[in-house]
Symmetry: C2
Subunit: 148 residues, 2 copies
Amino acid sequence: MSGVLHVLLHMAERDEPVTSEALAKAMDTNPVVIRRVMAGLRDQGYVRSEKGHGGGWTLARDLADVSLRDIYEALGEPSLLAIGNRTEKPGCLVEQAVNAALTRAFDDAEALLLSRLADVTLAQLSADFHKRLIGRGKGHRLEVAHAK
Amino acid sequence: MSGVLHVLLHMAERDEPVTSEALAKAMDTNPVVIRRVMAGLRDQGYVRSEKGHGGGWTLARDLADVSLRDIYEALGEPSLLAIGNRTEKPGCLVEQAVNAALTRAFDDAEALLLSRLADVTLAQLSADFHKRLIGRGKGHRLEVAHAK
DNA sequence: TTTCATGTAACTATTGATATTACATGAATG
DNA sequence: CATTCATGTAATATCAATAGTTACATGAAA
């Protein structure tokens, strides 16, 4: 999630396509990992990919039209909470009582998180970034900001 | 978390100490795992352990005095969220903007979850269990409810 | 003094996430 | 039109965290 948003914002600062290799270097990972993740976003229409010379990844949507929740969903809605119920349909009544209470708490927290993510657009993140850029050197280019 | 609460409520239904072996069988795990987890709770004063014949684990506190958050903290406050920021103190301004937004959302969700856990006591869970018990066979004994 | 139970360190196994390798497809370039 | 560059994807490997196991020590009750 964090890494994907990072990548998307860097792409927004570019006119030409960015290769998986360049992104992988910046994120300190492997190009194939980038392709796997981006493939999901492409299938949902958030980015485009081009093969061959001058190819790579480009944004397919206006930043203002995409919320963090959109991205979360495009990533396949991975589980947000680190803990959960031991079993899903327990026969034991004790466990049923425990599950009921925990599920209530978990669901509420998850719902809040999702609504917070829905409140923030990529455009807002980009604006925040440009605000931070003022008064700093021009270290915003992908390769420079992530120099080894 | 789920498993620990389960164990504590079963212990509450008993007068004599419960052995790690009995609990392990019910939780479908190993006695040593039970001891490791319970040792933490004992150090925080929530349960007592006794060696030798007739030994095992007993509750050390009134169920009404213990909230789910207390148990969570006694377990060492494991991280609640499954996702987080890629790096903690990023030099990249893009990442700083991403982190700031995500951290806000994460912190809010975590705070809500903790407050929900603080609202529920073991006594409430026990009461819910006994309510569920009405109109059901007497399948509440540890070994019966968790028969293979 | 034997049995039962916890206490704990050390080790092993399992699992999920991430990374890597290998090869195929397709687009630009000279 | 062959070469280079880039993505697409399956198969495999690595790694770290969690859980489980073994082994042995301690102490209490029978």
